[in-house]
Symmetry: C2
Subunit: 413 residues, 2 copies
């Protein structure tokens, strides 16, 4: 590895369609300012096993960089490791800063969501305390779109484009028989309805689809839901309901089977592995109304469907990665580059830098006044917000009929 | 409605990404020979309620016709109605032939799969018996690709393109953490593995994905499967298994939860509503190997993902629709236009006409010598067969970031 100033970059948390575009932005910008670029394999966690590599070997040609942008998942690998507070355990910090020093790391760029911002925030605080010259910068990504301090997050627009397109297709598919039916489409989002809400974009010129949207922010009872569906079935044949995996009843319980065991919490204290709202509601509705129902879960497809990525999303992700490197090279630490919206129509944004402490460990929810009065849908304000984020199609390279991907580092050789 | 010679066209059975292209081919070819075009709403079943309409009102402009081709589902609506044998009940035939006469119908084109070919076969036989001059022609479609008499069926190539692309994306997504795991992807196909097998196309330049494919034609025991997965996990971190919904054990039982009630049969005697192989196997594997597993079901997405349709598929579907009209106009009845393959590389086909009696109520399975020796995959012969069918991308019209669809007749106004 080169002895010059190195940028060390990692990816963390759940993958998205845009996280590799941010990596490309980090890489190309770092190269452009003469820095070397080292990659963490499997995020901070991999660093403890010295899993880092010189990215110029892997990404040092323009075709690979383009393929990287159209490849889903986290090219470098990811982790869900949570750093302890340095007052509790200083050892991991000593180990990491020693590794940074040995590898001439001048800046650490960490692409991730809420939890990854916690990591970068702690590293920056520790670095300042120790008077380290190393810059720590977070680069936002999360399909959940729940980060504070930025208008929206890379990954969200592409997930929303897949969700809205698929809901439009499923809505048409579900209407083919001359038969009353209800389809429940289950969409990610534990605590926020940004993703479920994006399904509203499937509506096209007066043809409303989905008919109802259940968001975690707007609890409803099963009685209310089934009554509303019955009402809709008086006017129409097929009803489509978009359900957030975190859709809740007013008492706070999830719209899903009662858990058979105690709810498991992951390393960050989140409820782990939610699933089942759509199947549960399909069963309840079929039993109560005596009609055909179907449950469709988008599962991981919604976060990895790069074949349908939003060009706006990938471009912004790339730029934010590059802005992160620039911020670090200008001396900033403990910050993230973020997006501020100037106008919905025409869509206009500017890039800003915000303090990571204002972002980490907070969660941005859908504003309550963007939720429809019946509590089962979103308003035109939501549409005006979300529409520009799904716009623009990516001209992917197809080989033999399929979008081509870069060979994943996580796959080995 | 016009008093000239009319072509009556219907769509039947499960929708596909290509069935509306065949409708466009029927419509434009019928118009080109000066015939009027009437559409059945909800197939033959709708005809009993006189649900037919003049399609020129709806489709009489070139933009609508193009939108029709990029719209999933069955534009006219569909049914799963089974005609009785005329010896048992002649009444439906009398009713239909009276309706044909009143509407100056010279030819009936029915776009559908196996069961729809049964319908057209019976109508053709009845017509010949009654010395009716009406021509009855089937136009093949089914994502299952299980029709005899044709190299492949419209709808299959687009479903295969979605399946292979999504498996490639999921394979990359599942590899992000430094953690052994197995993903089971559930793919349609009750009795044949054409769709599950198409996932093999996700492999790219030496990166094999999926690792295993379970087809209904090749039963395996759970012991064999779990042992093979354990073996693979010695060499690699993430294993992806593509599972046909009809994957079976050697005793003929389905690789799924034991049904809680007796298996329901649909009108054609098929087992209805299969589901659960992936979730069942994910649970079994997690329990036996003590590792993380995930189940992903493509559900109806695989038959309606027009945003990722195969251009080859849509073009062939269109041409087969048109060939059906030509065959009828040349006096043929009781036939279907079909595809004969001349060469895999370069891909070369010709269009032929086959007798519907040789096609209806038969089922074409994946040849056993196209199944890998371990019984859990397909050979290069399968790849050479399936590859050309997913090739070619469609330049869809996007509006506001989403593929635009024609307004469905099945949605009302």
């Amino acid at each position: 590895m080169r002895s010059k100033f190195n940028v060390l970059v990692g990816q963390s948390g759940g993958p998205t369609a845009a996280i590799n575009s941010s990596l490309a932005g980090v890489y190309e910008t770092a190269e452009s300012i003469g820095a070397g670029v080292l990659g963490m394999r499997y995020g901070i966690e991999g660093l403890f096993d010295d899993k880092l590599l010189d990215l110029s070997t892997e990404l040092g040609n323009s075709v690979n960089l383009q393929l990287l942008r159209q490849t889903p998942s986290s090219y470098l690998g990811s982790c869900r490791y949570k750093l302890p507070h340095p007052d509790e355990d200083e050892q991991p910090y000593e180990k990491l800063f020693d590794l940074f020093k040995r590898n001439h790391v001048g800046a650490v760029l960490y692409i991730g969501g809420n939890d990854s911002m916690d990591t970068i925030s702690k590293l920056a605080a520790y670095g300042e305390r120790e008077k380290s010259g190393i810059r720590f910068v977070g680069v936002p990504k999360t399909i959940d779109n729940d980060l504070e301090g930025t208008d929206h997050t890379p990954g969200y627009g592409s997930a929303a484009k897949f969700i809205a397109t698929s809901v439009a297709e499923i809505g048409r598919d579900s209407s083919v028989y001359d038969l009353k039916n209800v389809t429940f489409v289950e969409i990610m989002g534990r605590n926020t309805g940004w993703l479920a809400g994006s399904s509203v974009l499937a509506s096209q010129e007066g043809a409303v689809c989905p008919d109802l949207i259940l968001l975690p922010e707007s609890p409803v009872t099963e009685d209310e839901l089934v009554a509303r569906i019955a009402e809709l079935l008086n006017e129409m044949k097929s009803v489509v309901v978009a359900v957030s995996e975190g859709a809740r009843r007013p008492d706070g319980t999830l719209m899903a089977e009662p858990p058979t065991s105690a709810v498991k919490l992951d390393a960050f204290g989140h409820e782990a592995a939610l699933s089942g709202a759509s199947r549960y509601l399909a069963t309840v509705t079929a039993n109560r109304l005596g009609i055909k129902t179907r449950a469709v879960e988008f599962s991981t497809l919604q976060r990895c469907a790069n074949h349908l990525a939003s060009a706006t999303d990938l471009d912004e992700a790339y730029t934010l990665g590059g802005m992160g490197v620039r911020a670090a090279s200008e001396g900033a630490t403990g910050v993230i580059p973020a997006i501020r919206r100037l106008s919905d129509q025409p869509y206009l944004i500017e890039y800003v830098t915000v303090n990571i402490a204002d972002v980490a460990n907070r969660e941005r929810k859908v504003p309550l006044d963007w939720i429809r009065e019946d509590g089962m849908g979103v308003t035109d304000d939501f549409v005006r917000y979300a529409r520009p984020l799904v716009c623009g199609e990516v001209a992917n390279l197809y080989v033999d009929g399929l979008p081509h991907h870069i060979h994943m580092l996580t796959w080995g050789r």
